[in-house]
Amino acid sequence: MAIRINGTDVTPPDDVRVSLLDLLRDRLHLTGTKVGCNQGACGACTVLVDGERVLSCLMLAAQADGRAVITIEGLGADGLHPLQSAFLEHDGLQCGYCTPGQICAASAMLAEVEAGVPSYITRDLSGPVVLSRDEVRERMSGNLCRCGAHNGIVDAIMAVAAERAP
């Protein structure tokens, strides 16, 4: 078995205690994924596993065996991802430390919205999802920004969502 990381097969580490986050950063030198709290509270380590956003600090690398991982390096492999461009355009960052996690989370979040998945604040759980600013804030609440760039982050995500709307 192998972990497919940004399209390349990687053998899982022998030591079970190695998290997916540590595998990415310390062994594969994919340092775009950041260590924030290392306890599931900040979202800086967000990556995509089989297309879904997860926290790489709370996942053992062994758990990712046989699954496909996309990091910020994979998301922006063919030039800037539209979300990366939008974060630049709308000042969705200051220091940039939370940004890779924000962008990975936002890319999966937009897919969730397109699939009609409600959030805690969606009034009609079975109705269509309208992506308001409050919906973006609720859906992105797992990604903290200590610089307080959240207004720009919401602007950037709203702009990309508007471009993608049919």
């Binding site: 290392n38 306890q39 956003r53 053992l60 998945v117 805690y120 079975s126 609440s141 797992g142």
Partner: protein
């Protein structure tokens, strides 16, 4: 973390076989267990990955919904039948943790997560009867904002952190348990234990036993139901108090009602006294306030969490008001 080995179970039979291993812990999504291993609270010798248990969400012949233990929280909340028939459950799950954690967490693991009491998690610096039986409790007399006001004991004042389990308690969910000795079904309400003098014993699970499925019976009150969570920030925080409630009305009369509370006890707290006070009576603000008062008549708050009693009573009344047609 102490050294540990990892085995991935290939289905329920294999999981049951591996759960006979000494010093094992079942690994679902890992969102709680991996963190507690890193903090030194959990020190398993073997991790048995049970993400290969059933993750199916299926309707049974009697109209029940059966959810495999390895179903992800996010998948349950997104399921069309859950959203349409059990809105309080979808909203409770969506109110818990973050989207990333809901994608990882399994429903079986959610029910077996440990308390988030800060003193329990502080293995290096705090005494905790749940972590080390008989060692004492540093939470009592400490920072108790997130601690229990119902059903606590001198040994432990921790709360159960799950939002999902609160809705399951209100919905009369049943758990399918299995080990090498066989399969049995228990009510969720009987699954978690109050702390008493053994807060380290949290559930009725027998050795080697695991949750394989959650069964939701058809419900008259679930269609008109919701979940409200009050917390220190707008999102991604544990509950100070939460309310799952469902109401069946005939005009202004309450035909049936289910209420459960989160953030107040070591287990999801079914509000049987409030239900009894309401059933058959009028759906009025006065009745809701009286029912809430009845539920908390024996509350035993601490100086740091006394605010939770009026907060929970008002939240309960507000949710019932909302469900009865008037937005509170």
């Amino acid at each position: 973390m102490t050294p540990v080995s990892y085995l991935r179970a290939d289905g329920a039979v294999d999981a049951i076989r591996l759960s006979a291993l000494h010093g094992h812990r079942l690994l679902g999504g890992g969102t709680n267990l991996v963190d507690l291993m890193r903090k030194g609270v959990e020190r398993p010798a073997v991790l048995v990955d049970v993400s290969g248990l059933s993750a199916l969400i299926e309707e049974a012949a009697d109209g029940s919904l059966v959810i495999g233990a390895a179903a992800r929280n996010a998948a349950v909340a997104a399921h069309p039948l859950v959203r349409a028939r059990y809105p309080m459950l979808a909203r409770a799950i969506l109110g818990g943790a973050s989207a990333q954690i809901r994608n990882m967490a399994t429903v079986g693991g959610n029910l077996l997560q440990r308390t988030r009491c800060l003193y329990f998690a502080d293995a290096a610096g705090s005494r905790c009867n749940k972590r080390e039986p008989g060692s004492g409790c540093d939470a009592r007399g400490g920072f108790t904002r997130y601690h229990a006001i119902l059903g606590a004991s001198p040994a432990c004042i921790a709360t159960h952190p799950s939002d999902m389990a609160v809705a399951l308690a209100a919905l009369d969910a049943r758990l399918h348990l299995a080990n090498a000795a066989g399969v049995r079904t228990v009510a969720l309400l009987d699954f978690h234990q109050l702390p008493g003098d053994r807060p380290d014993i949290e559930t009725i699970l027998a050795p080697g036993e695991m949750i394989v499925a959650i069964e939701l019976p058809p419900s008259d009150v679930a269609a008109r139901s919701t979940y409200r969570k009050v917390r220190d920030r707008a999102s991604y925080a544990f509950a100070l108090v939460s309310v799952a409630a469902g109401l069946a009305l005939d005009g202004d009369r309450i035909v049936d009602v289910r209420i459960a509370l989160g953030g107040v006890a070591a287990k999801p707290w079914r509000a049987l006294r409030a239900e009894a006070a309401l059933r058959g009576g009028p759906a009025t603000a006065e009745a809701f306030a009286r029912a809430a008062a009845a539920e908390f008549a024996d509350a035993e708050p601490l100086p740091g969490n006394a605010f939770k009693v009026p907060l929970a009573m008002r939240t309960l009344a507000a949710v019932l008001t909302e469900l009865s047609g008037e937005r509170a």
